[in-house]
Amino acid sequence: MSAADAERIAARSAEVGRVRRAERLALLRRNKAFIVGVAILFVWLVCVAFGDLIAPYAVNEMDFEATSMPPSAAHWFGTDSLGQDVLSRVIVGARLIIVMSFSATALGTVVGASLGLLAGYFKGRFDIALMRVLEAISAIPVIIVALLAIAALGGASPVITIAVIGFVFAPNIARTVRAATLGEAEMEYVAAARLRAERTPHIVFKEILPNVMPPLIVEFTIRLGYAIFAVATLSFLGAGVESGSPDWGSQVAETWSLIFANVWWPTAFPALAIASLAVSINLISDALLEAFES
């Protein structure tokens, strides 16, 4: 294979890539579930960016004259036992869970994709050893690893939660990327790059990485869904964020025992918020999976 051949192969694969991307976009735009998912996510992203401006009351404003009031014109979602406006806390609460979930997934993706690329490219002993360690990590449920880490580090904080979830997710992402890389490493364009005497980091990150992007994007959105699941659960268990933060999981944890007194609104609305966010991400990842597989 000559350098000119290598150029031609690269050009052709870029052309094929463009056509495929356009087809996928068209598929996504016709998918109703995808549109619904994006719309819900968009609403929450607006709350992340402008939550303090949209919220009708300040997050920590307590009105002791109006504690545990049911939904009304003044307080659409009612007030909690401290007289805080539930709607405002739900709007502002979008920030912590979304920022934490995105950061954790991004961390897991960077670490996992790097490990997966290297394992798939080098194979051999490095690959075997890595896969063993990753299997061990995935034999402990994420919630339990996180609880262990928080006990060891002496307290809950968003940074610890992000680090733990990222660390636990890396293996799954590595496995997906490794599987895709194994196939890519046999392709002509990799041989062509080796022929051009490109350095290994260039081949792995500049040549192979763009070609394993489709499964990586799907994996990212699936993991993002799990991250929301994990962040919310850890916050509910009092192990995700500092107590008192406006956060959906903590809100449910602080208020749910009042549902026995029929004060359901401080619990139900943040619970529905978590559900809607998780479902929106699931609709998006499901549609992406479908589009990339066809």
Binding site: E135, A139, I144, A152, F260, A271
Partner: protein, 318 residues
Amino acid sequence: MLTYFLKRLGLSVVTIFLVACIVFFMTRILPGNLAMRYLGKGATPEQIVAWNSDNGFDRPLLVQFGDWVGTTLQGDLGTSLQYETPVSEILLPAIGYSARLAGLAFLIIVPVGIAGGVYSAMRRATWIDRFITVGGLSAAVIPEFVWAVVLLLVFGVALPWFPVTAFPDSESPGFLAGVYHLILPSIALLLVLFGYVARITRAGVIEALESDYVRTAIMKGLTRRRAVTRHVLRNALLPTIAVIASQVPYLVGGLVSVEIVFAYPGFGSALLAAVGARDYSMLQSAVMVTSLVIVAFQLAADMLFAALNPRIRHKVTA
């Protein structure tokens, strides 16, 4: 088959050993502070030294690790720091309770999930198919504690059909009363699993329905229903077994929040109490038991998979 089993068993042992390393060194990231965090900020240096030597934390880390692995292998889970009684006395009954809850959830989810998947595959591209696949997976991404409080609110408080705690009040409740108390919490657990089981079964059934041997069977005059029960299920259930086993970690993780909401004295409650009390010996054992269960399920699923799949069975014995 035996070689395959031994090989898988060996890999499981390696996995468990690596988990032990992760667990042990994670709780000792800052070894000097262990005593301080346990005794509180007001502890005097003398108290810390005494506490460390009482609990053997003054020995070199590798000696502690070896000692821990050794005693654990002999079935001694150590002494709980918070209760000062053997960990096994607290952990084992709690695991028993959790096993009951998780077992009930499993008993319901496996047939219901498989039936949902088969039904969905037979009614492909209808609204009921969309409902089972999209609805099932949407239910699966909502955390257990959200389901738990919603179920509690709707079926425990608004419509008082089910008890609001998972544990009967009386000392020796009947079997049925016990199951009745566990219904809401098991639903919270299994809503998270249903979508995965149904979807993978559906995919397997569709693939089998489109295969040549099923077409032949139908052309020979078998009804679609007979073809499914006699030919399709056996092949379609292989991936389902793998998925069910891979859901065990999630089931165990979900136990923690469901047990909290339904005030159930199981493994999850014990674990959370240990986190609150910084009871490291209890935590280590609890996590090891968890991964042991998970790895055992994985191994069992692999073996079942091999036993049912002639391609693996014969390749390995040959």
